[in-house]
C-alpha cells in the first residue's frame, strides 16, 4: 500500500464541492439553536415555573447523550410520529416525501440549542447585577435593560465559547454521513470507495476541515476585538 499524493488533490477538488452542504448543516442548526438556547437560558435564569423543569431536562438529556443518538432518534422517530399523526387527522402527508436533511437539521438544532443555552446562561450570569441596577436607575424597564445593556455584554463575553461551538458543530456535521448525507465526510467516503483510495480521500477531507477551523478561529479573534471594544480597561 503506497500513498498516491497527486490523488489527494483530485479528492480535494471533489470533496470541497460538498462544502455548501456542510456549511448549511453547521450554520442553520446554530441559528435555530441560538433562538432555542437564548429562550431556554432565560427560562432557567428566571426560574419560570414548570417550564424551567422542562428546560433543565432538555439540556441535561441533550448534553448527556451522543449527538449521533439525536440524529438517529429523530431520523427514525419523526417519520413514525408524522405518519401516525397524518393517519389520525387524514392530512395526507407522507414522511418519506420529507427530505432526510430536514431531520438532520432538526436533530442538530436541538443539540445546538442545549449547548448554546449553557453558554448564554454563563454569559448572562457573568454580567454583574450592578449593570441591571444602573439601567433601572436611568429609567429603563426590565426588557430594555436586558436587551440593551445585559445581552450585548453577555454576547461579547461569550464569543470564544461561540467559536468553540461553531467549530464543534462544523466537525459534528460530519456525523450526518451515517444517514447518507453527501456533506464533506459523505463526499470523502464516496470518493474513497469509488477509487479505493481511502487514506488519500480522508487526508484531503481532513485538510479542508482544518483550514476551515483555522479561518473560523481567525475571524473569531477579529470579532472579539470589535465586540469587546467597549471594554478597553483604560482609566482605572
Amino acid at each position: 500500500m503506497t500513498i498516491d499524493i497527486p490523488f489527494i488533490w483530485t479528492a480535494f477538488k471533489e470533496i470541497i464541492r460538498a462544502l455548501p452542504i456542510t456549511l448549511i448543516l453547521t450554520i442553520l442548526p446554530l441559528l435555530a439553536g441560538f433562538i432555542i438556547g437564548l429562550t431556554v437560558a432565560l427560562i432557567r435564569i428566571y426560574k419560570v415555573k414548570f417550564l424551567s423543569r422542562v428546560a433543565n431536562g432538555y439540556v441535561s438529556f441533550f448534553r448527556g447523550t451522543p449527538i449521533i443518538m439525536h440524529i438517529m432518534l429523530i431520523y427514525f422517530g419523526f417519520p413514525l410520529l408524522i405518519d401516525q399523526i397524518s393517519k389520525k387527522f387524514d392530512l395526507g402527508i407522507q414522511s418519506n416525501s420529507i427530505p432526510i436533511i430536514l431531520f438532520v437539521l432538526t436533530a442538530l438544532s436541538l443539540s445546538a440549542g442545549a449547548y448554546l443555552s449553557e453558554i448564554f446562561r454563563s454569559g448572562i450570569i457573568s454580567v454583574s447585577n450592578g449593570q441591571m441596577e444602573a439601567a433601572y436607575s436611568v429609567g429603563m424597564n426590565s426588557f430594555q435593560a436586558m436587551t440593551r445593556i445585559v445581552l450585548p455584554q453577555a454576547i461579547a463575553q461569550s464569543i470564544p465559547n461561540f467559536t468553540n461551538i461553531f467549530i464543534g458543530f462544523l466537525h459534528t456535521s460530519s456525523i450526518a454521513f451515517v444517514v447518507s448525507q453527501k456533506e464533506m465526510t459523505g463526499a470523502a467516503n464516496i470518493v474513497a470507495s469509488t477509487n479505493l483510495k481511502f487514506l488519500e480521500s480522508f487526508i484531503a477531507a481532513g485538510l479542508i476541515y482544518w483550514g476551515l477551523t483555522i479561518i473560523a478561529e481567525g475571524l473569531s479573534f477579529l470579532i472579539e476585538k470589535k465586540a469587546t471594544a467597549y471594554n478597553r480597561g483604560g482609566v482605572q
Binding site: 500500500m1 503506497t2 500513498i3 441535561s60 438529556f61 448534553r63 448527556g64 447523550t65 451522543p66 449527538i67 449521533i68 443518538m69 438517529m72 432518534l73 427514525f76 422517530g77 413514525l80 467549530i167 462544523l170 466537525h171 459534528t172 460530519s174 456525523i175 454521513f177 451515517v178 465526510t185 470523502a188 481511502f198 487514506l199 480522508f202 487526508i203 477531507a205 481532513g206 476541515y209 482544518w210 483550514g211 476551515l212 477551523t213 483555522i214
Partner: protein, 235 residues
C-alpha cells in the same frame, strides 16, 4: 415484524446492549490513560519551549482541534498501516478496537495538553519560588507543589473532556467495532426495530453520563476540601 413502534422492546434491548458497555468503557479507560501520558508530555514540551518538538506539538494540537473525530478515526484506520508498512510492520489485520483506542488517545492527548498547560500556567510562580526557598530542586517543586495544584485547577475540564470522549466512542462502530453502537446495528439488522434500539442506547449513555457527573462532582469536592469557599464554586 410486529407493531411499528413497540416500547416494551426498549426494556428488552437494554440488557443485551448493556452487556457491551464493557467494550465502550474499555475504549474510554485505555484512551484516557494513554491520553493523559501524551497530554502531560505535550504540555511539558510546550511549557519549556523545547525547540522543534514545541512546533510539532503545536501542529499536532491544531490538527486534532481542527478536524472531526470521525476523520481522525478514518485517518488512523487507513493511515497507520500504510505508515508502519514502511518499517515492515504489518498491522492491517489488527483488531479495529486498537485503532479506535489510538485515535481517541491522540485526540484526548491534544485536549489534555491544552488543559494541563493552562492549569500549570494558572499556578502562581510565587509557589515555585517558595518551594525553592525551602530548598527544593526543580523537579521536587514541580511534582510536589505545582502539579498537585494544577491538577485541582484542571479537574473540571478533564472531567468534561472524559464525558465528551465517552460520547465520542459512539462513533467507533463506523470502522466496525463491536461496542454498544456496533451491537445496536446488528440488533437493528436482526429485528428491524431501529427506533427502539436507539432509545435503549440513549437511555444507557444518559445513565452512564449522569453517573460519571456524580462521581466527578464528589471527587471535585474532595480535592477542593482544603480550599476556602470563594475559590471552588461547586453546585
Amino acid at each position: 415484524m410486529g407493531r411499528a413502534f413497540d416500547p416494551s422492546l426498549i426494556v428488552d434491548f437494554i440488557p443485551t446492549l448493556i452487556y457491551y458497555l464493557g467494550v465502550t468503557l474499555k475504549i474510554l479507560a485505555a484512551s484516557v490513560l494513554l491520553g493523559m501520558v501524551i497530554g502531560i508530555a505535550a504540555a511539558i514540551l510546550r511549557l519549556f519551549r523545547i525547540p522543534a518538538l514545541n512546533q510539532i506539538v503545536i501542529l499536532y494540537i491544531s490538527f486534532i482541534r481542527g478536524t472531526p473525530i470521525l476523520i481522525q478515526l478514518f485517518l488512523v484506520f487507513y493511515g497507520l498501516p500504510a505508515i508502519l508498512i514502511f518499517i515492515n510492520i504489518d498491522i492491517s489485520r489488527m483488531d479495529a478496537l486498537y485503532f479506535v483506542i489510538i485515535t481517541y488517545a491522540l485526540s484526548n492527548g491534544a485536549h489534555f495538553a491544552e488543559i494541563f498547560r493552562g492549569a500549570i500556567k494558572a499556578v502562581d510562580y510565587g509557589q515555585t519560588e517558595a518551594a525553592y526557598s525551602v530548598g527544593m530542586n526543580n523537579s521536587q517543586s514541580f511534582f510536589r507543589i505545582v502539579l498537585p495544584q494544577a491538577i485541582r485547577i484542571a479537574f473540571p475540564n478533564i472531567a468534561n473532556s472524559i464525558i465528551g470522549s465517552l460520547k465520542d466512542t459512539s462513533l467507533a462502530f463506523t470502522i466496525g467495532v463491536m461496542d454498544m453502537m456496533g451491537r445496536g446495528e446488528t440488533l437493528i439488522a436482526a429485528t428491524a426495530h431501529a427506533l427502539e434500539v436507539y432509545l435503549s442506547l440513549a437511555v444507557i449513555y444518559y445513565a452512564v453520563v449522569l453517573l460519571f457527573e456524580k462521581i466527578f462532582r464528589l471527587y471535585e469536592n474532595r480535592i477542593n476540601r482544603h480550599q476556602t469557599v470563594d475559590v471552588s464554586v461547586t453546585g
